[in-house]
Amino acid sequence: MTEKEVILDARPDASAAIAETLRLAQQGDRSAFEVLFREHVGRVYAICLRTCGDTSRAEELTQDVFVHTWEVIGSFRGESAFSSWLHRLTVNVILSNIRSDKRRLARVFGTDDLGPFDTQGDTSHAGINLDLEQSIQRLPTRARVVFVLHDIEGFKHEEIADKLEIAVGTSKAQLHRARKLLREALER
């Protein structure tokens, strides 16, 4: 826990209310958990939407994240901010979901020999428009996942490679590819 977080948690009123909300949620209080849900659902949904590129799937994933959070919230010890803890959990749920899908597995992980300019077989970016958010959602799956984790969520290539079980070079290549496709989309 950083010094800043210690100070933050020591603040009166709101931080005490948040701590109490967490404690009650850990004891199984659904109302308290709903407070946490509504406070963080936008952040969780944003990661899910950008990572999977589909609103229906993003909604399912968001529910998965909070169901899992409900299951394990008792293990939250306050050693980091709850939002940081939830963020890490969210990414893990998303990646677990991706890994469990064999079809996606093949698309995401079978790319070690992929050249940085290789867009062969990509048709999903054909409809990219000028809107950056939509352009990200329309990126090819593997490029999108790496791009979101690196450029939006701030993970390093080593962490991404570890989470996705790919080579660091592959992560860099996919990031390069994603950025190139986005630049092309924004040029149109």
Partner: protein, 384 residues
């Protein structure tokens, strides 16, 4: 290095992941290749846009009900690493049965009823703002307008809308549930953000009086020359027709921020900002006229050493907040003078050394600041 190679490595180049030699080769090519310069510029532009993407997106549907239904199907908390996501869930048990509930038992549950009362405010505070599209406004006097439309007794200021008062009207904005803002005559304010973690107004011109009882850094007022960041306080902020602003803090602290520069203003002090200059050095409202004039020259008129001499000679113990800011604002050649003068007014803590301060040691600067007897809010310095 040719264009293909250069553009292949541009992504890693902007991320700072290339070796010194690789960087040199790319920079050598960039100097003579307009096309690759353009590629680099576009890449940086893209990353700038990405950095501005919102961290939160509201789902189209309310997902709580569907999520809540699934909570009832869960079993106990699985042991071990909480981040180890189970691939399959057991849906055979209906009882949520959190282990912590079982561990604490009835007594703990009964005592938690008291906590429910405490959480009531917190829950209300956390949920109300996030679902509200704006803030309530009450007419205090005259005929204030929201979005160019007069309202009688009460109105609603939505995100993006502007509240304006003429020379004879006043209004009060309820800032969610964390405070209120009185809008004085001849003022124009705009609501930018009404989230739980970000309550944000723009003061285009005029005067507001803000009273905030929330934790620090939840309420912001942007002006053309700086952003006022609430650190738990009550203050008055005015903006003139040229975008310059004057901040007066009544209680607590306010930070004025612009372009990486920051002034921390305690109760009883004020701070002037000008467009293009950012926040000036804060000073006590009861500081001498000579000190204030010299500080004005130092901050905004390239007053230099002469102005600094006047500030130092005029400074009292109560003006230590001004000298403390100056430690970080003067050049290395003048810093010893400021250090020596501040030492005569407020002794630094034991471990703070002259050498450390002159070298800009942040830990020592913060430690000394805490000795200035400016109030009890020690936490503010960690919020930079």
């Amino acid at each position: 290095m040719n264009c293909t190679e250069t553009q292949q490595y541009l992504s890693e180049y902007v991320d700072g992941e290339l070796s010194f030699t690789q960087r040199q080769r790319i920079e050598l090519h960039l100097k003579r290749c307009i096309e690759c310069q353009r590629e680099l510029s576009m890449l940086r532009s893209l990353l700038s846009e990405v950095a501005l993407l919102p961290t939160s997106i509201a789902p189209v549907h309310d997902l709580w009900e569907s999520t809540a239904r699934r909570l009832g199907d869960q079993k106990n908390i699985p042991p071990g690493n909480p981040f180890a996501v189970p691939q399959q869930r057991d849906h055979t048990q209906d009882e949520p049965a959190h282990h912590s509930l079982r561990r604490y038992g009835w007594i703990k549950s009964i005592t938690s009823l008291a906590a429910v009362l405490i959480i009531g405010f917190g829950a209300f505070w956390l949920t109300r703002d996030s679902s509200s599209p704006g803030w309530q406004v009450a007419r205090v006097q005259g005929s204030p307008e929201i979005a160019s439309t007069r309202f009688t007794d009460a109105g609603h200021l939505h995100i993006g809308e502007t509240l304006e008062t003429d020379a004879t009207s006043r209004a009060r904005i309820n800032v969610g549930v964390i405070g209120n803002v009185d809008v004085e005559p001849s003022s124009r304010v705009q609501l930018l953000q009404a989230k739980t973690t970000d309550h944000r107004l723009v003061l285009h011109r005029g005067t507001i009086h803000a009273k905030i009882w929330a934790p620090p850094r939840l309420f912001f007022v942007e002006t053309p020359s700086a952003t006022a960041v609430d650190l738990g306080c009550e203050y008055t902020l005015s903006v003139d027709d040229h975008g310059a602003s004057i901040l007066r803090v009544n209680t607590g602290w306010v930070a004025m921020e612009f372009g990486g520069h920051e002034s921390i203003v305690p109760a009883g002090a004020m701070c002037i900002t000008y467009s293009g200059f950012g926040p000036g050095t804060p000073y006590r409202e009861d500081a001498s006229v000579q000190l204030r004039a010299a500080l004005q020259k130092f901050d905004f008129e390239h007053g230099g050493a002469g102005s600094l001499t006047t500030v130092l000679s005029e400074a009292r113990k109560d003006d230590s907040i001004t000298l403390w800011h100056l430690l970080m604002r003067v050049g290395a050649e003048d810093r010893p003078r400021v250090y020596d003068r501040l030492t005569t007014l407020v002794s630094p803590p034991e471990f703070v050394t002259r050498e450390g301060i002159l070298q800009g040691n942040r830990e020592m600067l913060e430690a000394w600041q805490s000795h200035l007897d400016l109030g009890q809010n020690k936490w503010w310095q960690f919020w930079n």
